[in-house]
Amino acid sequence: MVETEKKVMARKLGRLVRAVWIFNWFNSCGCTELLPVVSSRYDMERFGLIIVDNPKHADCLIITGYQTIKSIKRVVRIYNQMPDPKVVMALGSCPITGGMYWDSYNTIKRLSDYIPVHMYVPGCPPRPEAVFQAVGLLVEHVRKLKEEVSRK
């Protein structure tokens, strides 16, 4: 990466991390398991995360549950429609390796073959704490990036 480009990316990600707006593509296990993340017990809003209702407002696309061949077309279109500094988080084992649908004829096996995935959160279903740890890792990565840029 050219020096200035890295500095710009560090600044953009630095701002993104404090107010991540999530577009959720929750189906199958995601919807039932990931609601506590939003509700008052785990409350993701204390980190500035809110769920937005369309990809054009969102920065982070969370995909949980298996994707069929029909639905992955929509996922790719949704991913393309998101404005640029964007992050994709694959939750649960289904998007990572196909999960328990590894030998089903209708589901796709690896999400990363179709869209670039930045964070994998294993678990079938994934725990809410795992989601926060993933966001924590994103913050960690950005902090390291900023340090590296400021040191230069």
Partner: protein, 163 residues
Amino acid sequence: MSWEEIISEYKPVKQRPRRIWVNVPKEEVYDVIRKLREAGFEHLSAISVTDWLNEGVFEVTYHLWSYSIKTLLTVKTKIPRDDPVIKSVVPIYGMSAWIHERELHEMFGVVFEGNPDLSPLFLEDWDGPPPFRKDFNWRDYVREKFYSKERERDKAYWEVWLK
């Protein structure tokens, strides 16, 4: 013409107080269903197909329910497996029949004549044989389509399969 007389000639089997099965030959099934519709069976709850591989036959079942008579009448008919063609009931029951027939066409390959649109419902751009058929070996299909021998990460799967 009450519904008992309509199905009496086809020896109905009474499973339980409100469950009646009746086997109807392929040619007369359309007329029987139309008469049953007028006799009070307004609700087509489902159409399903069972694949009898060894007899080489598809068994198409129409589950009809009536609000007034409060009975579930299951009309069954057999069609040959190699060219599964049957008259569509969309003119009788309309859109509910259309959706069921569309799915059955996609999953079993049964052709419903007279159905306005038999396009795929769940499996978009599907290149394999109809998946619900008993002779469809889905393991091989998945292996070819999703897992390739060359890729490093798929080696583990191939060892499991070849063992």
